[in-house]
Symmetry: C2
Subunit: 374 residues, 2 copies
């Protein structure tokens, strides 16, 4: 579904953008008192296809293992909402959308946006759906940043929040990796100074290199070693050449080449920039606790032992701040050697943690999840 809002959205940059469209999916049924909504926030290259197969790749939704009837986020009980972020390329207004001022795609005329802007747009979606408060907001990586931003800026709109494998302040190393990706895209002459859509060209190679570099950061060294090690790709001996000798090379090349079919290069620039700018303590006088003073939101913060992109210490900083703000918070560091991507995988400890927290919170919220209530 697509929400079309005529009223311009004010942005952190001071610019305004409008009209704005939000592409979203819902699963399950909103109950009578509109109290069983779960907002699912997607990561950098995710989209609203959290459950349904992706229309380009045909692959199952990115969180189809977690969300569905009888699953951890049970669509027999909850009304699940997942929307493409502002700046995205799957239907929500982004750089490839038409700029009403020019009649051509925004491209680099799209305003630079923030995680805060993404969240404000999704609050508009909640308004449109008539949901005053979601029962839970959940997301991993950039999705977790949105969860934190939502809980901080709109504490009355969330009962409980699950930021997973996220951070409250984007690190120098993470900015550095984003910058490499952007430079790879902008180095591709097919990028055409951002105007490739007008030229009917696509910076495939640059975007693929960006994806390859980023993809390494999503995995742990242990996972790469277990999965690939030094295994050779369909050959007995090294080939003494620059073809993909090693499985890990052909895996990365595959990741790069399939990504470009489903993602817009300018969206990649804008969304990574939004992450670079994410600095919740910076927005609150340098003290993250100030972002959550007096918050009624109940938090469950989750990290993974082998995540080096958003390591456990990033989650610990969130937990410390929530404690300093006297917020209700539980924290689980999931043992996993799968790296940052563990949040997308079928990790039993992750799923048990989410299920337990949601069940407990549903009790605490007095949520009637019976079929009759819907």
């Amino acid at each position: 579904m697509v929400l079309c809002a005529d009223e311009p959205l004010p942005l952190d940059s001071g610019a305004r953008i409008g009209p704005v469209e939000v592409a979203y999916h819902t699963y399950g049924t909103l109950n009578a008192d509109r109290s069983n909504a779960v907002l699912v926030c997607h990561a950098l290259t995710g989209d609203q296809y959290a459950v349904l197969p992706h229309p380009v790749t045909g692959k199952p939704g990115w969180w189809a293992n977690l969300i569905g009837p009888g699953k951890v986020v049970d669509t027999d009980a909850y009304f699940v909402i997942c929307a493409n972020v502002l700046g995205g390329c799957m239907g929500t207004t982004g750089p490839k959308s038409e700029n009403p001022a020019t009649g051509r795609p925004y491209m680099l005329d799209f305003p630079v946006i923030t995680i805060g802007d993404m969240v404000r747009l999704h609050v508009r979606l909640l308004d449109h759906l008539g949901i005053d408060r979601v029962f839970a907001a959940i997301g991993g990586s950039m999705g977790g940043m949105q969860v934190l931003q939502l809980a901080s800026a709109f504490p009355e709109r969330v009962f409980c929040a699950l930021p997973i494998a996220a951070c409250a302040r984007y690190s120098a190393q993470n900015i550095a990796f984003d910058e490499v990706g952007r430079q790879a895209i902008m180095a591709d002459p097919e990028w055409c100074g951002g105007e490739y859509l007008l030229e009917d060209r696509v910076p495939h190679k640059g975007l693929a290199v960006a994806r390859m570099a980023a993809h390494i950061t999503y995995l742990s060294e242990a996972a790469l070693t277990r999965k690939f090690g030094r295994k050779l790709q369909a050959r007995e001996k090294i080939g003494f050449g620059f073809d993909a000798d090693f499985e890990v090379e052909s895996y990365l090349r595959h990741q790069g080449s399939t990504f470009v079919e489903r993602f817009d290069a300018n969206s990649y620039l804008y969304i990574t920039r939004a992450m670079d700018y994410f600095d919740l303590p910076g927005e609150h006088g340098g003290n993250l606790a100030n972002a959550f003073r007096g918050t009624p939101v109940k938090f469950c913060v989750i990290s993974f032992t082998s995540d080096w992109l958003f390591p456990t210490r990033d989650s610990q900083a969130i937990v410390r701040a929530l404690n300093a703000a006297a917020a209700s918070v539980s924290f689980v560091e999931v043992q996993s050697d799968k790296g940052h991507d563990a949040f997308l995988l079928d990790e039993p400890e992750l799923h048990d943690t989410i299920r337990g927290f949601l069940d407990g919170m549903a009790d605490r919220a007095g949520l009637d999840l019976s079929r009759e209530a819907r």
Copy 2:
């Protein structure tokens, strides 16, 4: 100085290359019994300018803090040799050298080489210099791999060996990062299928992206955070654009753009490939100890706590194998938060370790380092 050898060098691939030139520098004086030589092996983007200022950048030699009169590697005592590796671009035969078969640069006609090939060429240089056995071989990163390969393949040519921040088997993650760099170079249309020299073009952008991605792996997250954090570049506020807002971005861009002035893109392809192929246990039936059985070489293995490119466990694997081979080995994990690049920096614990080991080994070798002996 340049050694020109007419006899072709046999390569691990089965190919032969010749004639071969080796560009090298020496410092200090070889003593009468030719027993005070120290072979210094350089890393991926290093060269023979370990001490003298680099002719392109004008910057001090990459190990000028370590090597010199009265320094840790004391050129008043030792005869220091540092040669550009095979495949390099600073005078030793590499892809930009003239291919005698065609009269034009080798470019992609250059054979794919290995660390073993690099080492065999440097042993030829030792032959030329009349040095049967170097007192010490020392190197960091790929330099450390060469040290290990030399000690394994030519144990009679080395008295003691110092592999620093190195590994005996290149990991899947490291292959992955190399592959990203190569894809970035080959994605640049200025690379011209490897024949940019003929077209008078240079794949600046691709090589810069490769360098930027690699450079992140040379630093620790702690070092990036301490050095840059989220500090802004010559501005008070974020710029809501794609210029370098953050210092870490302009630092990386600078690293990329200065690198392309001094390095050949095809050399980058060949040398990273040589590293990918480095698998000393693989050469010895899967057991690294077999690479060192009965070795007379005395080892000092050094790693850094914050090095995530060649982490301490890589050095520990070397030490375990040396122990299993009953070799003489000491191991120091240097406390440093500077990451892989610590081996190039003025790290007191590193310098003390090297000095202590060399002094002890000089005693053990009965090396007369007095002025009169030279």
